[in-house]
Amino acid sequence: MTSPHPGPKSVRTVDTDSDKGKTDGKSMLRQKDRERYQRQIGLPEIGEQGQKRLGRSRVLLAGLGGLGSVLAASLCAAGVGFLRIADRDRVELSNLNRQILHWTADIGREKTVSAGEKLAAFNPEVVLEPRQIAIAEDTVQELLRDCQIIVDGTDNLESRRVLNRASLKTGLPFIHGGINGFNGMLSTFIPGRTPCFECLFSEFGGGSGCPSVLGATAGIVGSLQSLEALKYLLGMHAELLTGRLLIVQGRSMTFRKIRLEPNPACPECG
């Protein structure tokens, strides 16, 4: 199901001083940014330079469901400069056990509008671009325009296949996560450096129907994906979850990494 392809309909910009795209490497952080991000600027891995780097970063977040809600909030809170949020759905009552950006009064509203309002209030320094659109072959290239990274907040195999192909085509990293019940999995796929999503899942059918899932599981896996995205944007490339699939088993509180080798039979990158 593909929806029409409206262009950006609600791009908010902030004042010139906070236009993250124009901040040069030597300029100082504004006082209000220094205060807002004080508790992470103190990290040696970030500092003022890292915070400015985050402020210049541009992210595509595909999907605003359980994972996407947590991802959007975490990335906004951390101060990424530009966040394009894409989803085709409207909020339903059954979403609310896990999709924490959407509230009871939002039922029936477009998810991008519902999420965009909360995110704008949460951190007005972030430039948001809501796109109420399906993730599809004919939309993804435009959705990726000028972004540095693809973050997976989708809930189905086909959207992830589209995002993976776009990642391979553009060379942009793809931060994948998925959840089901108490469990989840995630990996960071970097074209040319790691196996890709299809290396692992090209023979999978994706199951049927909507899996049952706890909001807490989405919180765990979405937060871990956020950490991966922020590490990438900060240049911490040696410490990413690359060449590994992290399996999260919430019932036993087990976190286990599985090594991934190249798949020469991969239909996309083999």
Partner: protein, 71 residues
């Protein structure tokens, strides 16, 4: 004639299986119905093309994992 067996750990439990067992034969023998299955062998992801070729050794650790594609 007795069939030689090896001991492996499958999904956290010790199991005696026939020597020369492959991942494909164990998926069949343990009646794993779900075709969407991740297989971890000694900490490594195994691609489906390997299932019939990968012969298990005594002491190996195998996990059958259902992937999670929700969001």
């Amino acid at each position: 004639m007795m069939t030689a067996t090896i001991h492996i750990t499958l999904n956290g439990f010790e199991e005696a299986v026939v020597s020369e067992a492959t991942i494909a034969s164990l998926i069949r023998d343990f009646n794993e119905q779900d075709s969407d299955l991740i297989v971890e062998h000694n900490g490594c992801f195994v691609y489906p093309a390997e299932y019939g070729k990968r012969v298990l050794q005594d002491g190996d650790r195998l996990e059958f994992i259902n992937p999670n594609f929700g969001g």
